[in-house]
Structures are given as structure tokens and as C-alpha cells.
């Protein structure tokens, strides 16, 4: 039983990191139908900015997160305006895959040029580092923080999408974009705001998840498919879907690592294949008829 609880705790923490980073991508793919393989690249930019803010500017952790989120959004604006707008909702996946792989490569090149090729740590404040006793085991305090971040993110997003006017417009645009347009909802503004939200969430996840997915130039490439896989397993555009997919895949990966670490990501991808076969539109995907 202790082993089960133990695995569950690690799986929860890993799943939450996947969730925070992937939920932005999920919203983007649900609304704009963009297979954005560069999402991890923006998460990485967030990580680099936070690392820089803490280590070179001596910023406190909270401020560093803020800098990372805002910084990543600022960096992403020209990409949105010049490139992503061309591929919203229309192109076939191949075109989107290629353009976003291209964007990823460019970001990797630039980041390496500016920050160098080595691993960048994001030092944690004392309150978040070290172990914490949660009864049946010790966990890194940071993991508890990550889990809390994940839950709060999910809750706030749910409130945003279900309870605000922006949310109503957003849902309208997702389900019936032409109709929304006809009713006077400025879809391009909704798109731009959603894009910024998605990137911000990615950057936030990149920073708080850096203990589990460490920040280095190949981050964008290494986890490129992980985030995409989470979203498509969950069903693009669904918070519940992304959350359950993150937790499920987090569990598959962690259990695999615990029981048979030498198999690497085998169980992760096996789970993916099974789920895609059973639910081609994802666990909570809507039909885009």
C-alpha cells in the first residue's frame, strides 16, 4: 500500500507538470487547431528567463515566475503575428508540423547563442527546497508546490472559461467559429489573447516544472512530442481531458520508472497507443464535425 501511495504521489507531481505545460497547448489546439510543436520551446524560454532572473538579477522566485511568463509572451508576439496567424484553423497538420518544428529550431539556436549550451538550474527559495514529511513518505517540498500550482491552474482556468464573458466568447469561437464571427465576436482578438494565455501557461509550467524537466537548449526538442501526446490523448481544448491525460500518462510513466526503469518510455507510449486506439478524439475530445 505504501508503495502504491508512493508511486501515486510522484505520478501526481509529474502529471501536474505535464498538465500545466500542456493545458496551454490544448486550448490552442482546441481553438485554433494548430498542432504547435513549438509549445515546449516557449516553456523553455520561460525557464531560461526565470533562471536568468534569479541567478543574475537576484530576483525572488515569485517575481522570476512573473518575468518568465510575461517575457515568454512578449517573445511570442511576433511569432503569433507573423507566422501562427497564417495557419490557424486551415492548414493540414503537415504544414503546421513543419512550421512549428522550424520555429522550435530557431528558438533552440537563439537560446543556445544567448545562454550557452549547458543546463540552467532555477534555484528554489528555501521554503520550497528540501524534503517534506507527508506521513507515509518524504517528498520534495517542491513537488507539493507543483501539485498545488496544478490544481490552482485548473481551477482558475475552469472559472475563466465557464464563468467569464471571455470564456463564453471563447467557447463560442471553439464550437462555431463562423457563427461567432457573424455575431460580432472579434475572433482574431480572441485568438491573440488565447495564444498569449497558452504561451504564458507554458512558460509558467516550464519554470515550476524545471526540477522534473530540467532546462537546457534541447528541452524544446526532447519534450516536443510529450506535450503533443498529452493533448491529443486528453482531447484538444478540454481542461478535464488534459488533466486526466496528464495524470494517466504521469502514472504510466512513473509506474514504469518505478517497476522497470530500464524500459524507459516504453510504458508511456504503449499507453498512448492504446488510448488513441480506443479514443481517437482523445478522452474528452469534442467532435469537430
Amino acid at each position: 500500500m505504501r508503495i502504491v501511495l508512493s508511486i501515486a504521489t510522484d505520478a501526481l507531481a509529474y502529471g501536474m507538470v505535464l498538465f500545466i505545460i500542456s493545458i496551454g497547448l490544448s486550448i490552442m489546439m482546441g481553438l485554433m487547431r494548430v498542432v504547435n510543436l513549438a509549445h515546449g520551446a516557449f516553456a523553455m524560454i520561460g525557464g531560461y528567463l526565470a533562471s536568468y532572473a534569479i541567478r543574475d538579477l537576484n530576483a525572488p522566485y515569485g517575481l522570476a515566475i512573473l518575468i518568465a511568463v510575461i517575457g515568454a509572451i512578449v517573445v511570442s508576439i511576433p511569432f503569433e503575428a507573423l507566422l501562427y496567424r497564417r495557419i490557424y484553423r486551415k492548414s493540414d497538420p503537415l504544414i503546421q508540423v513543419l512550421m512549428t518544428i522550424g520555429i522550435t529550431f530557431v528558438i533552440i539556436g537563439v537560446v543556445n547563442y544567448i545562454f550557452g549550451p549547458s543546463l540552467k538550474s532555477i534555484p528554489l527559495p528555501n521554503a520550497l527546497s528540501g524534503p517534506l514529511d507527508i506521513g507515509f513518505r518524504m517528498v520534495p517540498t517542491h513537488r507539493v508546490f507543483v501539485i498545488a500550482c496544478g490544481l490552482i491552474t485548473a481551477l482558475l482556468l475552469w472559472l475563466l472559461i465557464e464563468k467569464t464573458e471571455f470564456g463564453i466568447k471563447l467557447r463560442a469561437s471553439v464550437d462555431h467559429s463562423d457563427m461567432a464571427d457573424a455575431l460580432g465576436i472579434r475572433t482574431e482578438i480572441i485568438y491573440a489573447v488565447t495564444f498569449a494565455l497558452a504561451i504564458g501557461l507554458g512558460a509558467f509550467g516550464g519554470v515550476v516544472g524545471a526540477e522534473i524537466l530540467p532546462i537546457e537548449p534541447f528541452y524544446a526538442l526532447r519534450y516536443m512530442v510529450t506535450f503533443l501526446v498529452v493533448v491529443s490523448v486528453g482531447g484538444a481544448g478540454s481542461i478535464t481531458g488534459a488533466l486526466s491525460a496528464s495524470l494517466l500518462l504521469g502514472l504510466a510513466d512513473t509506474t514504469g520508472k518505478y517497476l522497470a526503469p530500464e524500459f524507459g518510455e516504453f510504458f508511456f507510449y504503449l499507453t498512448v497507443i492504446i488510448i488513441v486506439f480506443l479514443f481517437p478524439r482523445g478522452l474528452f475530445g469534442r467532435s469537430h464535425a
Partner: protein, 391 residues
């Protein structure tokens, strides 16, 4: 090989030799991790070689020596072999050097005899590499060399049940075997042996498994780079240190550039290794001064720069002994019983194995003048490679 092919390659080698003689620049191809997550170690190759060249000049007996650097990037044997082949065929190098990863060194080995090119391995640490070709010398270390003292120390410190966690590739498997054999021979028990894929970054589940195994000590080896930091952090943050589980490792896991990232909680971690940047000797002091003078950052120095520095020493010696000619037998003969004092301490090349024999130090992470270092607390004199050596 058919007779025709033999003639062709003989002719080609003749051409190579005459080309070299005419230009009188002897080229040395260095294959290292110049980019990617392990770039720090490629940089160390260059720092070490540059330091040697700065001290000893660019000429050996009237021959210019030129080092050409190529990027192996990651454990990618096919790529490394292609690079080596290109260095030999196209750049016409007379010596090869470097090799951070074992698989890459293994892939290069079959080319050496046909092309008559000696290879000085400056990192890759699986014992059997030197057996793959008579033209290989190694100035770094092997897993057996550094692990046997670790196992002895564990026994001495009262460890009874050990969990071994290593990277799932050649050197990791060597380390596991070396520790298991030595530790069990001394009466200890290995309760868990985990092999972790090289790309792993999240070690929390592995720490749980170790904890549940009831081990009192962990022995680990991972190639220094991104995974090592994650491993040590997972050890600290999952409460294993607080619970009294000790961590023993080879020095790869606590290289000096990583220590600031590990931070104060790392104080007291034990490791056995052949070089500490803080090693107190005049040779080391002047080596570090030389690196500083060359524009290098002393905080980035690792064991690979010392292996490269000593490797360059061997290459210079080989060039001198062969008077700039391509004669691998003579070149290897000239260095295979060399003895000198390296920045790491007194060393020699073991004539039987062509591997370096050196002191291995037991060190603990300590804070001296506000800086984390690996403080040497015990010396294991003149260790051979325990897997190759018949001692």
C-alpha cells in the same frame, strides 16, 4: 582484403605519408562533445590541450602540430565513426584523441589499425576499450579503477546493504559489476541494482524504489552532465539523506561545476575519483594558472581537461619518438611505460594494458572559504584498472 584493395590502400597511405611530410604539419583530430548538453566536457578537452600547447609550444622537433576539433555531441556511435573516418581520410590526421562516450570510442576503434592511427582516449571509461585495438592509449580513468575504492570505502564505513543505480550503458554496467564484485567479496549484500536509461531526468521514482529496498547506502554512477545533478537532488529532496541513507559515487556525479547547483545540502557526499580541482600540488596549481591565463574559467574545470592535458603530453611524446612519421607501433611503444606527475598526482601508463595507473582519492563535499569543493580525505595509491589488470 583483396590484393587490389590492399594495393590501393597501401598506395593511399603512402600518399598520406608523403603529404604529411611535405606540409610538415602533423594533424591531431580531437573528437569531443563540443555542443549539446555535454558541451562543457568538450570545452574541457580544448582547455586542457590549449594549456599543454601554451606551455610546450606548437612545434615538436621542427614539426608543427595542429589540433582539429570535431563534435560527437551525444552517445552516437555511427556519427562518431563517420567523423573519425573523415578526419583520417579527408583531413589526413596522424593521431586521434578525445572520445567522451564509450560507445563512440568503441565505434572508432576498428578504424585505427587499417589507417595506422593511434587514439588517445581522454574520457570514455569502459575497461574493454583499450582491448579493441593495440593503438589505443587512455589517459582518463576506468569505472573499475574508481569503483573498487568506493566499494572498499563503503565496507569500511559499515555499509551492509547497498542499492546500486547506474546509467544503462557500457560504463554504468562496468561500475555495477565492479562495485558488486568488490563489495560482495568483502561480505556486503547488494539489495537492489537499477539500470537507468541515459535520457532519464526525473529520479524520484527510483529514489522511492531504493528507499523501499531497505538499503543503507546507495552507490551510483551516471555520466557527468544533466542527469547527475537531477540524481543528487532527488536523493536530497526525497529525504534519503535525512533518513540516513548514505550516497557513494564516483566523482562523475559530483563534478566541481555541478557543486554550486547541488548547494549546501550536498555537504558530506562521498565519492572516489582520480582528480579534484582542489587537489593540492604544485603541478595542479600551475595547470590551473595556465588555464586561467589562456582565458579559461577555473570554475568550469573538470577531470576531462586534465585527461586532455596529459593526453596532449602523450601525443607530443609520440610525435617526438616517431620523428613525425606515421608509425603507430613505435609511437605506442614510446608512451606505454611513461611515468610523470600529472596535475592529478603521480601517474604512469601500464605497459600491459595501455591504460593509465593513478592514485584514486576518497573525497567528501565540503565548504571551504564559502566555496563547495571535493576535499580529498584518503588516497588509494597507484590504482590499476582492476578489470584489465591481473593483479
Amino acid at each position: 582484403m583483396t590484393r587490389r584493395a590492399t594495393t590501393v590502400s597501401a598506395l593511399a597511405i603512402l600518399c598520406l605519408a608523403s603529404g604529411v611530410a611535405a606540409a610538415d604539419t602533423i594533424k591531431v583530430g580531437v573528437i569531443g562533445t563540443m555542443s549539446g548538453p555535454y558541451a562543457l566536457f568538450g570545452k574541457n578537452f580544448k582547455m586542457g590541450i590549449d594549456a599543454w600547447v601554451a606551455e610546450n609550444g606548437t612545434k615538436v622537433g621542427g614539426h608543427d602540430v595542429e589540433f582539429i576539433y570535431r563534435d560527437e555531441e551525444s552517445p552516437n556511435p555511427a556519427k562518431s565513426k563517420a567523423i573519425a573516418q573523415e578526419l583520417i581520410v579527408k583531413d589526413k590526421v596522424q593521431y586521434l584523441a578525445g572520445a567522451y562516450f564509450t560507445p563512440n570510442a568503441m565505434a572508432i576503434a576498428p578504424l585505427l589499425e587499417e589507417s595506422k592511427t593511434p587514439l588517445v582516449v581522454m574520457n570514455a571509461a569502459t575497461s574493454s576499450i583499450v582491448e579493441k585495438s593495440p593503438y589505443i592509449v587512455r589517459t582518463s580513468f576506468t569505472m573499475w579503477q574508481n569503483t573498487v575504492p568506493a566499494a572498499k570505502t563503503a565496507t569500511k564505513n559499515g555499509a551492509k546493504k547497498v542499492a546500486i543505480a547506474v546509467s544503462d550503458y557500457g560504463p554504468g554496467i562496468d561500475a555495477e559489476a565492479a562495485f558488486k564484485k568488490t563489495f560482495e567479496a568483502d561480505g556486503g549484500a547488494v539489495v537492489e541494482a537499477i539500470r537507468i536509461p541515459l535520457a532519464t531526468t526525473d529520479f524520484s521514482p527510483i529514489m522511492q524504489r531504493i528507499k523501499n529496498s531497505g538499503a543503507d547506502t546507495i552507490f551510483t554512477f551516471l555520466p557527468s552532465g544533466p542527469p547527475t545533478l537531477g540524481f543528487v537532488k532527488a536523493y536530497l529532496d526525497n529525504g534519503l539523506k535525512v533518513a540516513g541513507v548514505k550516497l557513494m559515487s564516483t566523482g562523475d556525479v559530483v563534478t566541481e561545476p555541478d557543486l554550486p547547483n547541488i548547494g549546501d545540502p550536498g555537504i558530506g557526499i562521498l565519492s572516489t575519483y582520480h582528480y579534484s580541482v582542489s587537489h593540492a600540488s604544485p603541478e595542479n596549481a600551475s595547470f590551473l594558472a595556465q588555464i586561467k591565463k589562456g582565458g579559461g574559467n577555473v570554475d568550469e574545470v573538470t577531470m576531462t581537461s586534465v585527461a586532455a592535458y596529459d593526453g596532449a603530453r602523450l601525443i607530443y611524446k609520440m610525435i617526438e619518438a616517431t620523428a613525425g612519421q606515421r608509425d603507430p607501433v613505435k609511437a605506442i611503444a614510446a608512451v606505454k611505460d611513461m611515468t610523470w606527475v600529472s596535475p592529478r598526482g603521480p601517474v604512469s601508463i601500464d605497459p600491459a594494458t595501455r591504460h593509465i595507473r593513478q592514485n584514486v582519492y576518497l573525497r567528501e563535499v565540503a565548504k571551504v572559504d564559502g566555496k563547495l569543493i571535493n576535499r580529498e580525505i584518503q588516497t588509494f595509491d597507484a590504482q590499476p584498472d582492476w578489470a584489465l589488470s591481473k593483479e
